[in-house]
């Protein structure tokens, strides 16, 4: 039996209309989706507030309400504008402009209603917003042999996150270089060092961890650490090195070099003993 044409037409129209709407919306969605994916790549200068975690997860958790921005007492945080290269409406800061002052009560994290900023973070020293990297050793004044030290002095975790290490100044031949060294186990990525760097373009910069850190192959084992963990050598023990030294001398490899042995007189009473001594042996 043939169905009434009007009903057939309406079904046809329904299907076509549905397909029309669906494909239009799908195309629109494709555009939005691709744009959203692109906005996941955040520039290295844009730093997330404390407790933000992995960028992808943060973008799924942050609802762009700006409550962290409101509770930041130093106006460090701001929300990304649509034309900025950070995902629209998400909070970030630029260390060179205004760094994080590392408030002890972490108001930005407390303000976050969704937990996009992890509420487990209660000690600001545990925050990992990024990692400071002394990125240009050619212009850093301390590398040039001057005593700038500004990054070291402003570091809220001075002598933990940034230390100064001495090296001989080979250019002058008689001075020391005071090299600022960042330690990733302490650096929070607050950006005070980058903000304070006296150069026109900062030589030390806070970078996201993914850019700043290398990573050992997972199969790597560091021999000295394994030895310490095991409490003794895990392979055939090293044989004590035997030096062929003048009588009464010993070699200290920790830095002093050749030195008189405390165990033996430097010169035996009988000079013949020295001459007749077998190599390496005691008289």
């Amino acid at each position: 039996m043939v169905r009434a044409p009007s009903r057939k037409l309406s079904r046809r129209r329904f299907l076509v209309d549905t397909a029309r709407t669906a494909s239009g919306v799908a195309l629109f969605g494709l555009g939005v989706g691709l744009y959203a994916r692109r906005s996941e790549s955040r520039p290295a200068t844009a730093i997330r507030p404390p407790g933000a975690g992995v960028e992808r997860e943060f973008l799924g958790a942050c609802i762009r309400c700006g409550l962290c921005v409101r509770d930041c007492p130093y106006d460090t945080l701001k929300l990304a504008l649509p034309e900025e290269p950070v995902a629209t409406g998400t909070p970030f800061f630029e260390a060179r402009k205004i760094p994080c002052e590392m408030c002890e009560d972490i108001p930005c994290v407390k303000a976050c209603p969704t937990g996009a900023l992890d509420h487990e973070l209660t000690d600001i020293d545990e925050a990992r917003m990024g990692l400071a990297v002394l990125i240009d050793q050619e212009t850093c004044l301390n590398f040039l042999g001057l005593r700038c030290d500004v990054c070291y002095r402003v570091c809220p975790l001075i002598d933990k996150a940034i230390t100064l290490e001495l090296r001989p100044n080979l250019r002058s031949g008689k001075h020391a270089l005071f090299i600022p060294v960042v330690h990733s186990e302490a650096c929070t990525g607050c950006g005070k060092c980058e903000h304070a760097c006296v150069l026109d373009q900062a030589a030390i910069r806070v970078l996201p961890d993914r850019l700043a850190k290398g990573e050992l192959g997972r199969h790597y084992r560091l021999g000295w650490e394994e030895k310490r963990k095991a409490g003794g050598p895990l392979v055939t023990p090293d044989v004590a090195h035997r030096y062929n030294l003048p009588a009464g001398m010993e070699y200290d490899y920790a830095g002093e070099g050749l030195r008189p042995s405390e165990n033996a007189m430097p010169f035996p009473d009988d000079p013949l003993d020295s001459l007749n001594r077998k190599p390496g042996g005691r008289p």
Partner: protein, 299 residues
């Protein structure tokens, strides 16, 4: 009636103020909410912090947009309790007053699209691309699918509603271009295009309408003289007909469609006071017959 200026008879009959009562109240509500958010950053008087995505009032009352929160959940984030509580409060509120009260009384984009609709009438722009009013539910689905697929709040990257509201409070940037785009789309491309056809935020809130108590009722529908002014100003004109013209089919006078935004503009422009706000259970003549009330016409 005048096709270019619906409501003229109402002004003559009731006076300008009464013919704009609900419109003015709505503008006051929209502006008031915006001002509450703005006196913090402007004058340092912090009554409300945040924006419509999530806010904190007087340091105690959390409010969170349930649509945004749902996207976040689908993106795979275990949301903290404050936001869940805030979303629950908002959901309960709109379940009571009608979901799309958000659209007409709160949303900052509403004055923009209202302006486009007003200009459309004044300039007598008739053409409109054909688009289903159900498109918005597809787009709503899309916002969830995008969250699920990308693991991020993809829709919120371009959502003109949140873009505009956040922009007004935290700095607009180029968000004005998006708002202008919505305005021009409504003015030249599709009549009531954004709010009535595309916007997934409105679509989401329209789903919160089922038990809503506050509804517009065509209580005095027998007075209607078919001037069509209410249809001309209504942002969702398809919702009026069943209530206004359904007496013979035994349809109650209450506008039960979830797409009605409770804006009350039909009440304003009716010179004969056919409409008024009532409860959902309001019935004019035949309370025992409630059939086919939810039948809607899509244009």
């Amino acid at each position: 009636m005048s096709p270019l200026a619906p409501g003229r008879e109402a002004i003559l009959a009731k006076g300008w103020w009464r013919a704009h009562k609900w419109l003015l109240l709505r503008r006051a509500s929209q502006l008031g909410i915006l001002v509450l958010f703005l006196i913090g950053p402007w004058f340092g008087l912090w009554i409300v912090k945040g924006n419509l995505a999530s806010s904190l009032t007087l340091e105690v009352l959390p409010l969170t947009d349930p649509h945004v929160l749902l996207q976040s959940l689908l993106a795979g984030h275990a949301v903290a309790s404050t936001a869940v509580l805030g979303a629950a409060i908002v959901t309960v509120f709109y379940l009571l007053v009608g979901g799309r009260v958000y659209c007409s009384w709160v949303c900052p984009l509403n004055p923009v699209t209202d302006l486009a609709a007003w200009l459309r009438r004044r300039l007598n722009i008739k053409g409109s691309a054909r688009m289903s009013r159900r498109t918005r539910y597809w787009v709503l689905g899309l916002t969830f699918v995008l969250a699920l697929l990308t693991g991020t709040l993809a829709w919120e990257v371009i959502n003109p509603v949140s873009l505009f509201h956040r922009g007004l409070i935290f700095g607009l940037g180029f968000a004005w271009a998006v708002v202008l785009g919505v305005f021009l789309f409504d003015l030249f491309v599709v009549r009531q295009g954004w709010c009535g056809h595309v916007c997934p935020v409105g679509a989401f809130y329209s789903l919160l309408t089922v038990p809503s108590l506050v509804r517009v009722s065509a209580a005095q529908r027998e007075r209607c003289d078919d001037c069509m002014d209410c249809f001309a100003v209504c942002p969702e004109p398809q919702v009026i007909r069943p209530a206004l013209k359904g007496a013979e089919q035994g349809i109650g006078p209450v506008i039960r469609s979830s797409q009605c935004t409770n804006c009350g503009r039909c009440i304003d422009v009716c010179a004969l006071d056919v409409f008024r706000f009532a409860t959902r259970y309001h019935a004019a003549t035949k309370p025992h017959i409630r059939v086919a009330q939810n039948k809607e016409v899509s244009s």
